[in-house]
Amino acid sequence: MAETKTHGRHQFTLPLLAIVALILIFIFKPYAVIYGVQRGSLYALIAMPLALTLGIVGILNLAHGDFLTLGAYIAYWIFNSTGLDPLLSIFAVAPLLFVVGAGLYKITVSKVLRAPLLNQLLLTFGIAMILEEVINLIWTSRPRNVYVNYASASASIGGFRFGTYEFSYLLAAVGVLVLLRLFLKHTRLGKAAFAVGQNPKGAKIVGINVEMIYLLIFSISVGIVGIAAGLTLPRMSIFPLFGSPFTLKSFCLAAMAGLGNLTGILWSGLALGIGEALVQSIEGYSGWSDIVFFGVLIAVITIRSYRGSYV
């Protein structure tokens, strides 16, 4: 879970370039920036817990997006039976998912901690399948929605009219990031988790209960997904495969940011979100927007590998 340190001038030139690019885009395609920031922060919000699990527990969770689905259905169910606002239901969904995560960790994940990466992939792939199909059996494939008035609220500033709800993704992403960083840097438990991520054996011999940390981090990650679930529910349709595309996106963001770099995930998410929104706004070429995602991803990873190779 190390924040990778780039030293020298690069530290300043890159963000500077990014800011210049952002201003240029904003002048020509202001909406692309707004939409991009909104969607990008959602990607980041969902990717951060995945990266957390990957970095500390060392598990690549293919069922990550399906926890989002599960959380959204729980929020939906709460809404339908009690009328509780989806945003408020976060306070129920996140703890519930935390418990689900803890249970799954105990029953399955803890058994494959020392297994090869591939076995972990297969395990979480199986869990993803079970989650998707159970949800499908209970709620069918028919999409569900929750309508709340504020989800389509908008604001106008000087002739710009834009939706405000999705800025909650940005708020949540920044909030989660700040809290996670505070947790990892400044609490005893967080430091322990950070240590476990770097060297589990070393952590054991200084008296850290590594198993407990794994359980905690895995459950926290799943719990954070519950926040995203509550936030997206008023804005999106949910269906059994609703969350699964986010697994891939999160996985990509984590790789792009560099393993364990939580702040980098937010930046990567924003960059990809804006890139996507930009291509989507070009008439006749919106179908190519996916290629931005893959293209930027490949470019970043390849360039990083050339720079980072020790030969």
Partner: protein, 234 residues
């Protein structure tokens, strides 16, 4: 302080430690023997990283075999493993802090322990904010010992502390171990460099093929013919 009774350890079908009994009191104890004799296995077993098939381990009268590693460490045993097992992306200070943070009887005395460690290894004080991963091998070894001391242990276990270190550092290291010993910390160490090792301990065991072949005070061992020939090269 530490008592091992009739310990048997297997790796799969391989019998690594045979019916081994030994004790460590308020003293420095050395564990010598050729490669593959089972020294590291024994240490790992004491720490709960390896589960024994039979026998008991007591620490200050309490049975610790079967406990999880972190619980054993919290009982008051600290270890300096052969592979340093540091936290490379944390500073020297953070590494030291973590040494104490999870051990109840060390937490409250954190400042005192910092002073103690910095006194023994002034270099750590100077490098306080350096990332552990960027330090040289010798410095990392010192940091590992420092981290173990931060746990305010009553027993400090060191596994081959001198391997790969330059002669001047090795000499310094054993000098420091004496200092630590004088502070009332019991020491159990394994060492190939028996000549140096004997200086830091009061008593020693020779471990061969998973069994104790010989035991005695450091003087007795130094005078023993077998030890002289095989371990001291005389």
């Amino acid at each position: 302080m530490l008592e091992i009774r009739n310990l048997n350890v297997y790796y799969g079908k391989l019998h690594v430690i045979w019916d081994l009994s030994m004790t460590v009191g308020d003293e420095g104890v050395g564990l010598f023997g050729p490669n593959g004799a089972g020294k590291t296995t024994l240490i790992n077993t004491i720490l709960g990283l390896v589960t024994p098939k039979g026998g008991q381990i007591f620490f200050e009268g309490r049975r610790i075999d079967g406990l999880d590693t972190h619980k054993i460490v919290r009982e008051g045993i600290a270890v300096v493993p052969q592979e340093r097992e540091l936290f490379p992306f944390m500073s020297v200070k953070e590494n030291l802090e973590l040494g104490a943070a999870f051990v109840p009887h060390a937490q409250s005395r954190m400042n005192e322990l910092f002073n103690f460690v910095y006194e023994i290894f002034p270099v750590l004080k100077r490098r306080e904010s350096q990332l552990a991963g960027t330090m040289s091998g010798g410095e990392q070894r010192m940091l590992t010992i420092g981290r173990a001391l931060m746990a305010n242990p009553r027993l400090l276990i060191l596994d081959e502390p001198s391997v790969g270190l330059q002669p001047s550092i090795v000499a310094e290291l054993f000098h420091k171990l004496k200092l630590i010993r004088q502070n009332g910390v019991s020491i159990l160490l394994t060492e190939q460099n028996v000549r140096q090792g004997l200086k830091a301990i009061d008593r020693g065991y020779i471990l061969e093929n998973g069994r104790i072949a010989l035991e005695g005070t450091s003087e007795e061992l130094a005078a023993n013919e077998h030890v002289k020939k095989s371990y001291l090269g005389l």
